[in-house]
């Protein structure tokens, strides 16, 4: 079999991929490549095109145009090779609810012509946590345990590339942290991971990320570089009455580009400054105005952006 992509360091290659469903453009020319052994995050809201991208790369649907390869094989004419060597954990739990934990795992091992014993090392850390419940039906597991079983099943044939579509959506912050710990261990074993998430705070756990919205990548880079490329100035504001503070900041032409961020309000310099020389915020004056408006304990300070600030800036362009 001739490989489409001969660069052994590239695990996923995607060039100008388009996909439309009737009138809706799901992917509008997506290009990127993932290096072998990388954790690559596709980060964006629901409806951005994440699942469509995953389904094209796992050879479940065809792109309208563009080319893509996984592990060197073309997603169209070499799909059988791809299916042998990728693991896929779809967004929706898709194991057999009426089979037990062990039966599910056995089933997937058998489909791939292997056994649980053969690749037990790879799944050991994850599977051990649910092994005490191996005779329980999958449908009766808790959310966290389902997730671990699904990951074990996606790994049982020792894939070279692992596709995880929103594995942490709806998962509480503690379990999310645990899950990312597992991914780190898998990376250490040389598995390439493409993972999608709507949670911006998970970006820093990836080697590189693509921010996606409306079927297009807003940017592709390391989380650190994306943050360093943030072009606006950014301040964090707080006072004793945060809701009123947001209303007052919004009412001012200079500070109106502001959003709540946890216990602070982030103010970014205006996208279209009303006057040429008002590009930066006069902090002292803003604070004075707020105090005059009755705010107490006003603090405004310059801060470094988070990935979420970057996403918001890029998506407003």
């Amino acid at each position: 079999m001739i490989k489409t992509n001969n660069n052994p360091d590239i695990a996923i290659q995607c060039d100008a991929v388009h996909k439309k469903y009737k009138e809706t453009t799901a992917l509008n020319g997506v290009s990127f490549s993932v290096a072998r052994g990388e954790i690559f995050g596709i980060i964006g809201p629901d409806g951005a095109g994440k699942t469509t991208l995953f389904r094209i790369l796992t050879t479940l649907i065809l792109a309208d145009s563009g080319t893509a390869s996984v592990d060197g094989y073309n997603v169209v004419n070499e799909y059988k090779e791809i299916r042998k060597r990728v693991g896929y954990m779809p967004g929706r739990f898709s194991l057999y609810q009426d089979l037990t934990v062990e039966e599910n795992l056995n089933f997937f091992a058998t489909v791939f012509n292997t056994t649980i014993a053969e690749n037990y090392d790879l799944i050991k850390d994850i599977y051990q946590q649910i092994e005490p419940f191996k005779n329980r039906r999958a449908g009766k597991l808790s959310g966290g345990m389902k997730q671990k079983l699904a990951l074990s099943c996606a790994l049982i044939h020792k894939p070279s590339v692992l596709f995880l579509d929103e594995p942490t959506t709806g998962v509480d912050p503690v379990s999310r942290k645990e899950f990312w710990g597992m991914l780190k261990n898998l990376k250490a074993q040389g598995i390439t991971i493409l993972v999608s998430t709507p949670y911006m705070d998970e970006a820093s756990l990836c080697d590189r990320i693509a921010l996606i919205q409306n079927g297009e990548f807003l940017t592709i880079d390391t989380p650190k570089n994306i943050v360093s490329q943030y072009s606006n100035k950014l301040w964090a504001a707080e006072s004793d009455n945060m809701h009123q503070l947001l209303i007052d900041l919004r009412a001012n032409e200079i500070t109106k580009n502001c959003f709540a961020f946890g216990d602070k309000i982030h103010i970014s310099s205006p996208l279209n400054p009303p006057k040429g020389d008002l590009k930066t915020l006069d902090i002292d004056k803003t604070i004075r105005d707020l105090i005059n408006n009755g705010h107490k304990n006003v603090v405004i300070q310059k801060i470094e952006p988070t990935i979420e600030d970057c996403f918001m800036q890029l998506s407003q362009r």
């Binding site: 964006g44 709806g170 998962v171 912050p173 503690v174 999310r176 709507p198 918001m312």
Partner: protein, 254 residues
Amino acid sequence: MEKVIQHNPDLVIIAENLTKRFGRFTAVDHISFEVKEGEIFGFLGANGAGKTTAMRMLSGLSIPTSGKGIVAGYDIGTQTELVKKNIGYMSQKFSLYDDLKVWENIELFGGIYGMKDAEIKEKTDKLMQLLDFENERNKLVGSLPLGFKQKLAFSVSIFHNPKVVFLDEPTGGVDPITRRQFWELIYDAASRGITIFVTTHYMDEAEYCDRVSIMVDGKIESLDTPKNLKKQFNVNNMDEVFQHLARKSTRKSD
């Protein structure tokens, strides 16, 4: 010995030793709290801590095994239909009918809650303006982006002017800007006196609540303002508070 609950009109939710057992499993274990009118109350907990079961009891969908609860002035054990009439509910999973138009959804839900046609029409016009939705009025809900849908779903859930609205992970998967606009709608509703009872997995959103409770293994482990909770655990944000408390969990099942 059960206390007699005072019907203090300022309290929109009162839970006293609220408990739900399924067989030998205690999903919700003697939780007690009160929520005031117009308060934004964050109801946090790990998956499987018992949040959904508690919410189902408070919204009249499940009868408590023991304990007592008053929601919007009605007893959740004996007056479930009155409870349901006086609350709103919205979740990420169930919100609106995709194959009905925007105005049709509003009319349907307004009608279900017994609103008069004229009132529905007048409020629909106002709502379309407020949400800047004039152009979407005649579109099928299924064709709208998720962020639009969620904002509309929230507005519909408070359309009949309930005393309290239950929001079950309303912002899951929503883009960062819409997520914040959604919270501005919440603030606005609260300032009009509607009590907000909300669950979320976004810890930055926990900061927007007036008070937050954190459930661990069926019990309320902590309940206070975000500020006080951070102080109590000597940490910088609600994520750390949550990590600190939820790690105590020994429960293994949802």
